[in-house]
């Protein structure tokens, strides 16, 4: 997947993408860093750059959250990223709701053009409920 982009297949890119593909949810830069602790260490700046590159190449996407921390998830689901996210208000876990439900039919002000939709459902996860 990394090589198919035409850019260099570095060990950082491969390891981070593999890790995110294995993980089935959106995780933070910090969590990724921890899981990478075995093996040759990856500088945190490099990790930021790897994640930015993976996002640009659409191999990964960012999930926004009101704790000001980005979360990243592999785009196993290849096509347009139009699904919703669930965020637990107690343990702050974020999962992807792989449901084509995320749509917006309502009106926009005149002249506004829609590009993308981001739906976050907040609540309690099973463990916290």
């Amino acid at each position: 997947m990394v090589r198919r982009t035409g850019d260099r297949a570095t060990s950082g890119r491969v390891r981070v993408l593999a890790l995110l593909l294995a993980e089935q949810r959106a995780i933070t830069h910090h969590e990724i860093e921890e899981r990478l602790s075995g093996g040759r260490r990856l500088d945190r700046v490099t990790l930021y750059r790897v994640l930015e590159w993976l996002s640009e190449k659409c191999l990964v996407h960012r999930v926004v959250n009101d704790d000001r921390v980005w979360r990243f998830r592999a785009n196993a689901h290849s096509d347009t990223h139009q699904h919703a996210h669930f965020k637990c208000t107690r343990c702050t876990t974020v999962i992807c709701l792989d449901d084509p439900q995320a749509a917006y039919d309502g009106p926009l002000p005149a002249g506004y053009r829609l590009q993308e939709i981001e739906l976050t459902v907040k609540g309690l996860c099973a463990a916290c409920a």
Copy 2:
């Protein structure tokens, strides 16, 4: 409105809420600080605390954005905050779409409980389109 909460009506709380009520959109801590420059200055830490207090008391709400900067808007619309936001991907302006459209009918994993919905529609505003 401030006094009705039972807590103290300080000049900071009153000035910031008045400012946000006048403004018809979500603005940042930084923008609020600028608009407050006339009159007795308000320390930025105090402003953070005022905004936190206003949020707790539901006189204001936070709007999340992927630039990692919170925006605040007065809750003129009193009831539950269930509407959508529009964010221009070019000029980063955020507006509230006062439309009861923000709902989620899709399924959640077993045991999950829904509390609140946050829908962000991204695109270009009239000025940027």
